[in-house]
């Protein structure tokens, strides 16, 4: 697609010699829900602040809707931000907070009230107009911050870990609401988070970041099912990472692993040679525990189990390869769950993903 709406071209930013953002280029489409995902200190917030004009890039250009805004100050940019701590003005009530950005529009009192009510209705905060900033819960503050930003009808809404401070249940509720809101207003969202589940649930596309660079930029499904590097695989969801060495290369690659023996996997466009050390990755839900032997399964010993409600996690050790353990997520295992008991582990080699070390 070439209908890119936000273009970040070769942007770098250093703080005291440390590169927070290291030569990043990316494009975001109009109306897209785009997430920057990474551990703290990976540069995702810095990149967001560069988009909002709160931080000047050391080099590179930033374009929104065909306009180069690299040198445009924050207050003249077509972006609005929802801050991590919400930054609700403590000396103003909800109504005044939401109306803050309307001053230059020179609206009549009635028009202002109308706009504020509409914005508050959008975030389901009707009736909270006169509340003080410190009389609200985290979730309510977050809604005020959203309303205050959306009332400006920005071309791009920037969200800096807006759900980070909320408890689990509220966070899940807000995720759904945020996604619905985004589809309703049709504004391009750039969302920063360290919570991979949140990024995968909400986004149209995700950029996984690490140490100032983009490790992978893809749809959530691609990121989850086809991580391109060990770093991404390790960061996204639970993943068993097994060491191995290339045995032979052809249409498929044979990898010798201490845990699963010789396995045949797809050569996913990696130029590898015989003898190279690689990592095989497989999700816990793609492993299957059985109480009886079956072709292709390996013998394992149960090391631990944990009941999670929707599934049970089992940690198993392959007999004869006690160095590495594997995690299995399974709902219907009928064998004995006693630690130390033996079982059989089955898997489909197609679910194994080869990653270069």
């Amino acid at each position: 697609m070439d209908n890119s709406f936000i273009d970040i071209v070769g942007v770098s930013k250093s703080f005291g010699g440390v590169k927070a953002v290291d030569d990043i280029s990316l494009s975001v489409h109009q109306g897209e829900f785009f997430s920057l995902l990474g551990p703290s200190g990976c540069g995702k917030t810095t990149l967001l602040r560069i988009l909002g004009g709160l931080e000047a890039p050391g080099s590179g250009r930033v374009m929104i809707d065909g306009q180069d805004i690299t040198d445009v100050p924050a207050h003249l940019r077509p972006t609005n931000m929802v801050f991590q701590n919400y930054a609700i003005f403590p000396h103003l009530n909800v109504e005044q907070n939401v109306a803050y950005g309307l001053r230059q529009q020179k609206l009549s009192r009635e028009e202002q009230i109308e706009k504020v009510s509409a914005a508050l209705a959008m975030v389901k905060l009707e009736g909270f107009e006169k509340r003080g900033a410190d009389e609200m819960s985290g979730g309510q503050k977050q809604r005020v911050a959203l309303a205050r930003a959306l009332i400006k009808r920005p071309k791009v809404l920037l969200l800096d870990e807006p759900l980070g401070a909320l408890d689990k249940k509220l966070r899940e509720e807000m995720q759904i609401e945020l996604r619905m809101l985004q589809q309703q207003v049709g504004i391009t969202f750039v969302f920063v988070t360290h919570d991979q589940e949140e990024a995968l649930t909400l986004s149209d596309r995700v950029a996984v970041m690490g140490e100032g660079r983009i490790l992978q930029m893809d749809s959530p499904r691609q990121i989850y099912e086809r991580p391109k590097s060990r770093e991404v695989a390790d960061f996204i969801g639970q993943m068993n990472l097994l060491s191995g060495a290339i045995e032979s290369v052809g249409d498929k690659v044979t990898v010798n692993t201490p845990t699963l023996g010789n396995v045949c996997v797809e050569n996913n466009d990696q130029d590898v040679a015989v003898g190279d050390a690689v990592t095989l990755a497989i999700r816990p839900e793609n492993l299957k525990l059985r109480s009886a032997s079956a072709p292709g399964s390996v013998r394992v010993t149960l090391a631990a189990s944990a009941f999670w409600g929707h599934t049970t996690y089992y940690r198993v050790v392959v007999t004869g390869a006690e160095g590495e353990s594997l995690d299995v997520a399974q709902q219907d295992y009928s064998g004995s769950e006693k630690v130390g008991d033996e079982a059989w582990l089955g898997f489909d080699p197609a679910d194994l993903l080869m990653l270069k070390n």
Binding site: A87, K130, A149
Partner: protein, 273 residues
Amino acid sequence: MKQGTRLAARILGAYAVIYVAYLYVPVLFLPLFSFNDSIYISFPLRGWTFKWYESMLANDALHRALVNSLKVGLTTAFISTVLGILGAKAVTRYRLPGQKPVVAMIMLPLVVPEIILAMALLMVILRAGGSLGLVSIAAGHILLCVPFAMVVLMSRFEGFDRSLEEASHDLGENGWWTFWRVTFPNVLPGIVASLLLTFTISFDEFIMAFFLGSTEPTLPVFMWNQLRFPKLLPGVLALGACILIASVLVVLAAEWFRRRNTSDSQSGDVIIG
């Protein structure tokens, strides 16, 4: 063990009482003797009188000194607080080259003996061909007061979330409007505290006012002049009593303002949702 702690508590209690008495009892003698019908400060009191207050009200020189002190005090409070706001904002909001030495220089008047500052300023002003008077006194007081204003305001600026100003920029306000709509209301209690503190420091400052003044004395210098004549002493006591009451009122007003300000955001029409 328990007896030991009880004894310690008693000693501490006594210490606290003595400490407070030492601080405030001498101050209470001021209004007490200002009503005494005698020019000598000694017990027993000879009788009650308002005549010292009457003579005070009739004393034109005293009125002029009071007006001088108010002029110097208000000017000092205003200018040093404005400078303090600018300095505190710069120091807390930006990383400036050589910031630490610059701040140390601003704070220097806190530790340099005032008499040294006063003499140095006197020499500089005379050498530069300046004249002595209320302006030179105010200049000296500003030098003394800026560090105090800075300290008060810096703590206020530091305690106030930087992202609020960023949010204002983000919502379309430039630096000027952001200052008036966000920064100023949030640091206002600090500004009021700084105004009161610097005014008080200037109002009772003696050394600078003595060195850098001319024929027009400020109130402390005027009082000191009066003290040299025993028969004028009760008049000074009456004046002192008035200043005491005025300063208590100012402190109460400041405290009331502070409380009103912190509870402000909690009051108002609360809608329970």
